[in-house]
C-alpha cells in the first residue's frame, strides 16, 4: 500500500505525458513525408495565418492577464469584486464554443447590439454590411478569447492567493505610502505571478490554437493557422494529411516561439518592476484610472458573456426573429420539445464522463499530494511542466495521433474516452487543489500523529474534512473541464459518445441558433449546478463552525 502510494506521483505524470508524447509523434509523423512541407509553404494564406496565430494569441493573453491583475489589484475586497466573482465562477464552465456563439450573435451586424439600436438610432432597416465578426485583424477573436480567459485566470489567481500572504504585504506597502496599484505590482505580483505562470502559458497556447473559437469569431480569409490545419485534417480527398501534419508541426513551433517570447517579456517586466520599486515610485495617481479600467474590463467581460448566453437562451425559445427586431416576434417551446427526447441520453453521457473523470482525477490528485506529504517529496519544476503538458501542447497536434494509437491498441468506447478526459481534467483538478492542500498548516498533521493517529486516520479524520471546500471546488472544476471537452470526446469515442458539447459544436456548423441555445444552456447549467453544490455542501455541513468559514 505504502509502496503503491509512493509510486502514484510518477504514475500520474506518466499518465499525462505518455499520451501527449505518443499522440504528438503519431500526428506529426506524416509531416516528414516528401512534399508535405512544400505543400504547406505553397499555401498563399500561410504568412497571414501565422501572423494571426501569433497576434491573436499574444494580444488576448496580454489583455486577459492585464484585466485579471487590475481587478485583483484595485477591486479585491469591494462589493463589485464579490459580485464579479459570483458571476464569473459559473461562466468558467461555459464551453468555448457556446461562449463564442453567444458573443458572435451579440456583435454581428445583425446581432443583438445592432438590433437594440436599430432602426431608431442607426437608421438601419436591414443589417449593415460591416466586417465586425471575422474581421481580418482578428479583433473579435481576440476579444472573445479575452472574455473566456479572464474568469479562468482570475480563479487561478485566487487559488494561489492564500500562499502569498497578500493582505499583509499590501497593508505594509500602503503604510509606506504606496498606491494600491503600486503596492500590488511591487509586493504581490512577483510571488503571485510565479504561481500564475503555467496557467498563463496554457492560456497563451490555447489562444493560439483554438479551433472552435477561431472558426466562429476568427477571420476566415485566411483563417488562423489552427483552423486551417483542422480543415486540412478533415479534407475530403485525404490528400492534405501531409500538409496538415506539417501545419501542426509549424503550429507547435509557433507556440514554443510565443512561449519563449513571453518568457523574455516576463524577465523584462520583472526588471522594470524591480527598478521602479527600488526607485521608490509610490504612484498613488494610478489608482483611480486603474480601478476604472478594472471595472470597465471586468464589466465588459461579464456583460459580454452573460448577454451572449442570454441571447442564446432567448434564441432557444424564439419563433421567427428578423432584423431589426430586438426581441423575437413569437416565442415557442418547439425547439426544446423537439430536443427533449435526445437530451436524456446525451446528458447521461456527459454526466457519466464528467463525474467519472473528475472523481478519478480527484482521487489521483489526493494520492499525489498525500504521497508528497508522507514521503516529503518536493514537487520539482519538470514535474509541474509535465502536469501542464496536455494544456500547453496544442490539442490539434496530438489528439489525432492519439486516436490512431488507441485504435491500434484496440481501445475505444467509454473507457478510452474517459481516459482521454482524465488527461485534460487531472491538471486542472490538481492545480486547483494543490495550493490549498500545501497551504494547510503542517502542524495539524504533526499534532494528529503526536496524539497517536495513524497517517490514514490523520488524512480521513483531520485533513480531508479541513480541506472539504477546496476538494469540492477542485471536483467542480474538473467536472466543468470534462463537460467542455470537444475534440477529445469526438476522436476517442469514434463519435459514438454524444455529449452536450459534441452536439453543440456539430450544431454550430449548421448555424441553428435555436438548438445551439438549448445545448449551450444545458452545457452551462450542469457545471453551474455542481459548483453551487460545492459551495453549499460545506456551508451547510459546517454551518456551526466559524473556523471553517471561507
Amino acid at each position: 500500500m505504502t509502496r503503491l502510494l509512493r509510486a502514484v506521483p510518477g504514475l500520474t505524470l506518466a499518465l499525462m505525458a505518455v499520451p501527449v508524447a505518443a499522440g504528438l509523434a503519431a500526428t506529426l509523423g506524416p509531416a516528414l513525408a516528401p512534399g508535405a512541407l512544400s505543400a504547406l509553404l505553397a499555401w498563399p494564406g500561410l504568412p497571414r495565418a501565422v501572423m494571426l496565430s501569433l497576434t491573436t494569441g499574444l494580444a488576448s493573453t496580454t489583455l486577459a492577464l492585464a484585466i485579471t491583475l487590475l481587478i485583483l489589484a484595485t477591486l479585491r475586497g469591494t462589493r463589485a469584486f464579490a459580485a464579479l466573482l459570483r458571476l464569473l465562477s459559473p461562466l468558467l464552465s461555459v464551453p468555448h464554443a457556446a461562449a463564442a456563439l453567444g458573443l458572435a450573435f451579440l456583435i454581428a451586424p445583425s446581432g443583438w447590439i445592432a438590433r437594440a439600436l436599430s432602426p431608431w438610432a442607426t437608421g438601419w432597416s436591414q443589417a449593415p454590411d460591416l466586417l465586425i465578426l471575422n474581421d481580418p485583424a482578428g479583433l473579435s477573436l481576440t476579444l472573445g478569447l479575452v472574455a473566456k480567459e479572464v474568469p479562468f485566470l482570475l480563479l487561478m489567481a485566487l487559488a494561489a492567493w492564500p500562499q502569498i500572504a497578500a493582505p499583509s504585504r499590501l497593508t505594509l506597502a500602503q503604510t509606506l505610502g504606496y498606491g494600491q496599484t503600486a503596492a500590488f505590482a511591487f509586493t504581490v505580483l512577483p510571488p503571485l505571478y510565479r504561481q500564475l505562470r503555467l496557467p498563463v502559458y496554457a492560456v497563451l497556447a490555447y489562444a493560439m490554437t483554438s479551433v472552435e473559437m477561431g472558426m466562429i469569431l476568427g477571420p476566415n480569409l485566411p483563417p488562423p493557422l489552427s483552423v486551417q490545419v483542422a480543415g486540412w485534417m478533415t479534407e475530403a480527398s485525404l490528400a492534405q494529411r501531409g500538409t496538415a501534419a506539417a501545419g501542426a508541426a509549424l503550429q507547435l513551433v509557433l507556440v514554443l516561439a510565443a512561449l519563449a517570447l513571453w518568457r523574455g517579456a516576463e524577465i523584462a517586466a520583472r526588471h522594470g518592476l524591480t527598478g521602479m520599486a527600488t526607485a521608490g515610485l509610490r504612484l498613488p495617481g494610478l489608482d483611480a484610472p486603474a480601478r476604472l479600467l478594472a471595472l470597465a474590463g471586468g464589466a465588459a467581460v461579464t456583460a459580454g458573456l452573460i448577454a451572449g448566453l442570454a441571447g442564446l437562451a432567448l434564441w432557444s425559445v424564439a419563433g421567427l426573429w428578423r432584423f431589426p427586431a430586438a426581441l423575437p416576434e413569437s416565442l415557442s417551446l418547439a425547439t426544446w420539445a423537439r430536443a427533449a427526447p435526445t437530451l436524456g441520453p446525451i446528458t447521461g453521457n456527459t454526466l457519466g464522463l464528467a463525474l467519472g473523470s473528475a472523481g478519478l482525477a480527484l482521487i489521483l490528485a489526493i494520492a499525489c499530494l498525500e504521497a508528497e506529504h508522507r514521503f516529503r517529496l518536493r514537487p520539482s519544476a519538470p514535474a509541474l511542466w509535465l502536469l501542464w503538458l496536455p494544456l500547453i501542447v496544442p490539442q490539434i497536434t496530438f489528439l489525432p495521433g492519439l486516436h490512431r494509437l488507441a485504435l491500434e491498441l484496440g481501445a475505444g468506447g467509454f473507457a478510452a474516452t474517459l481516459a482521454g478526459h482524465l488527461v485534460f481534467v487531472l491538471p486542472y483538478v490538481f492545480l486547483s487543489l494543490a495550493p490549498a492542500w500545501r497551504a494547510l498548516d503542517p502542524r495539524f498533521a504533526t499534532l494528529a500523529a503526536s496524539l497517536g493517529a495513524s497517517p490514514g486516520r490523520s488524512l480521513w479524520a483531520i485533513r480531508l474534512p479541513l480541506l472539504l471546500r477546496p476538494l469540492l471546488t477542485a471536483f467542480a472544476v474538473g467536472f466543468a473541464v470534462s463537460v467542455g471537452q470537444y475534440l477529445a470526446t469526438l476522436l476517442l469515442s469514434g463519435g459514438r459518445i454524444a455529449t452536450l458539447t459534441t452536439e453543440a459544436v456539430s450544431l454550430s456548423s449548421g448555424g441553428n441558433r435555436r438548438l445551439i441555445g438549448v445545448y449551450a444552456l444545458l452545457q452551462m447549467a450542469l457545471p453551474a449546478l455542481v459548483f453551487a453544490l460545492a459551495l453549499l455542501g460545506p456551508a451547510l455541513l459546517y454551518r456551526n463552525r466559524r473556523g471553517m468559514a471561507a
Partner: protein, 404 residues
C-alpha cells in the same frame, strides 16, 4: 459470427446455384434481414440540421419496429471526419468491427473512399427496393460526380441547386449568371457564397462555370492542368468583377449552407441558395424563415446530384446497414423525406414504377410555400468530374484565400 448465423448463411449459399437470379436475391435478402436483426447500426450523418436529425430518428424507430435493427446517428460536423476515421482504422489494422457502419456521402468523399478501398460492396443491386429507383430519368443515382457508383453507394435523396430570395424585398431576381453579376454590382453587400472548399461554395463556382463557359461539356472529363487556366478564365473574370460588391466586400465568407441560410434569415443578404429545393419551405414551416421567401432556378438549369449512403469495409453491422439503405428507398420513407414540412428532399424513385397506393403518398404531399413544382424546377445539370471540385477550390484559394 455465431453458429446460428453461420449455418443460415451456409444454407443460403448451398441453395444458390439451383435458383434463378430474382429468387436467389430474395433468399439472400432473407438471410441478410435475419442476420441484421439485433444489430446496431451507427450512421455517420451530418448533424447540423435538426430536421434531418429528427428524420433519421424516425427512420430508426421504423427500423427497430420492422427489422429489429437499432439505428444510431453519429452527428458529424463534416463527412470527411468520418472518412478520415475509417482511413485511420484501416491504417491501424482494424478490419472488423469498425466505428462507422453507414455513411451519408457523395462526390469527393465517395471518390476518396472508393479509391482507397474503404467501401464494402457492391451491395446496391441486391436491395429489394432498388428496381423502384428512377435510373433512366435520374442518371445521377448511378453516377456520382461522373464516377460510376458501381453498386458501392445507395441513393436516398435527389438534390438540386435552387436560389432563394425574399419576395417582399425583391420582385424580379436575376435568372442567369450574367444577370446575377449585374445585380450584385447594383446591390453591393447583398450576395455571397460559402467559402470554398465548402461543398455548396464549390457548387456555386461550378454553376458560374456552366453559365459562362463556351463549352460546358469539358466539365464531364477530368480537369486538365494544362488547359485549366484557359477554361476557368470566364469564372475568374466573374469573381474579379463582383468581388468588391460581395457581402463584406469579399473579405469574409459564410462557412456552409446553414450559415448562408442564417444570413438570409438575418436579412444580411437578399439572395441565397441551397442544394435542396425544399429547404426554404421546410424552414418557413418551422418558423425560421419568413413566409415571403421564394425559390427559383436559372435559365438553362442548375446543378443536381444525389445523396447516397455507403458502408465502410470494416463495418461490424453490414447487414443492418443494408437493411437501412433499403428502408431509405421504400416509398413510405421517400414520401416522408419529400414532405416540405419534414425535409423537402426530392425522391430518387420512379413514380411510374410504384403501386397506386404508394403513388398516392407522393400525390398527397403539399409542396409548401416556396418549393417549385417538378415541372418548374428546370433541368438538372450533371455534376462535373470530381477533379474539378478540387481544382476549382484550389484555384479560388490561391486567388482569394490569403485575403489580399
Amino acid at each position: 459470427m455465431d453458429r446460428r448465423t453461420f449455418s443460415r448463411l451456409m444454407l443460403a449459399s448451398a441453395a444458390l446455384p439451383a435458383l434463378p437470379r430474382a429468387a436467389r436475391a430474395v433468399v439472400e435478402w432473407d438471410g441478410i434481414t435475419d442476420i441484421a436483426r439485433g444489430q446496431t447500426v451507427w450512421w455517420h450523418a451530418w448533424g447540423g440540421d435538426p430536421k434531418i436529425n429528427d428524420f433519421i430518428t424516425w427512420v430508426g424507430e421504423l427500423a427497430l419496429e420492422r427489422y429489429g435493427v437499432t439505428l444510431n446517428q453519429v452527428k458529424i460536423a463534416s463527412t470527411a471526419d468520418s472518412v478520415a476515421a475509417v482511413l485511420a482504422e484501416r491504417d491501424a489494422g482494424k478490419t472488423t468491427g469498425g466505428s462507422v457502419d453507414l455513411i451519408w456521402i457523395n462526390g469527393e468523399n465517395f471518390a476518396a473512399m472508393k479509391r482507397e478501398g474503404l467501401l464494402y460492396g457492391p451491395f446496391v443491386e441486391n436491395l429489394p427496393n432498388w428496381p423502384l429507383v428512377d435510373m433512366a430519368g435520374k442518371p445521377a443515382v448511378m453516377t456520382d460526380f461522373t464516377l460510376p457508383t458501381e453498386g458501392y453507394e445507395s441513393p436516398w435523396a435527389m438534390a438540386q441547386l435552387v436560389f432563394e430570395y425574399d419576395s417582399a424585398r425583391l420582385t424580379d431576381p436575376p435568372r442567369t449568371i450574367e444577370e446575377l453579376k449585374d445585380w450584385i454590382l447594383a446591390n453591393p453587400g447583398r450576395f455571397t457564397f460559402p467559402k470554398p472548399p465548402d461543398y455548396l461554395g464549390v457548387t456555386f463556382l461550378k454553376q458560374v462555370l456552366y453559365g459562362t463557359m463556351p463549352d460546358p461539356s469539358v466539365l464531364q472529363r477530368p480537369a486538365n492542368p494544362a488547359t485549366f487556366r484557359r477554361r476557368v478564365a470566364p469564372l475568374r473574370d466573374f469573381l474579379a468583377t463582383v468581388r468588391d460588391a460581395l457581402w463584406r466586400e469579399g473579405r469574409a465568407y459564410p462557412e456552409n449552407e446553414a450559415a448562408l441560410g442564417q444570413l438570409l434569415a438575418d436579412g444580411e443578404i437578399d439572395i441565397s441558395f441551397a442544394f435542396n429545393p425544399g429547404r426554404a419551405s421546410a424552414e418557413i414551416a418551422a418558423g425560421t424563415l419568413p413566409d415571403t421567401i421564394r425559390t427559383y432556378t436559372l435559365k438553362g438549369g442548375t446543378i443536381g446530384n444525389a445523396s447516397f449512403v455507403a458502408i465502410p469495409f470494416n463495418s461490424g453491422a453490414k447487414e443492418g446497414a443494408q437493411v437501412i439503405a433499403n428502408l431509405l428507398l421504400s416509398p413510405e420513407v421517400q414520401a416522408r423525406a419529400q414532405d416540405a414540412t419534414v425535409l423537402g428532399f426530392q425522391t430518387v424513385l420512379n413514380l411510374a414504377a410504384l403501386t397506386e397506393e404508394d403513388r398516392a403518398r407522393f400525390a398527397m404531399l403539399d409542396l409548401g410555400l416556396a418549393t417549385l413544382p417538378p415541372d418548374k424546377i428546370g433541368p438538372a445539370l450533371l455534376e462535373p468530374h470530381a477533379s474539378w471540385a478540387t481544382a476549382l477550390a484550389d484555384d479560388w484559394t490561391a486567388l482569394y484565400g490569403s485575403g489580399d
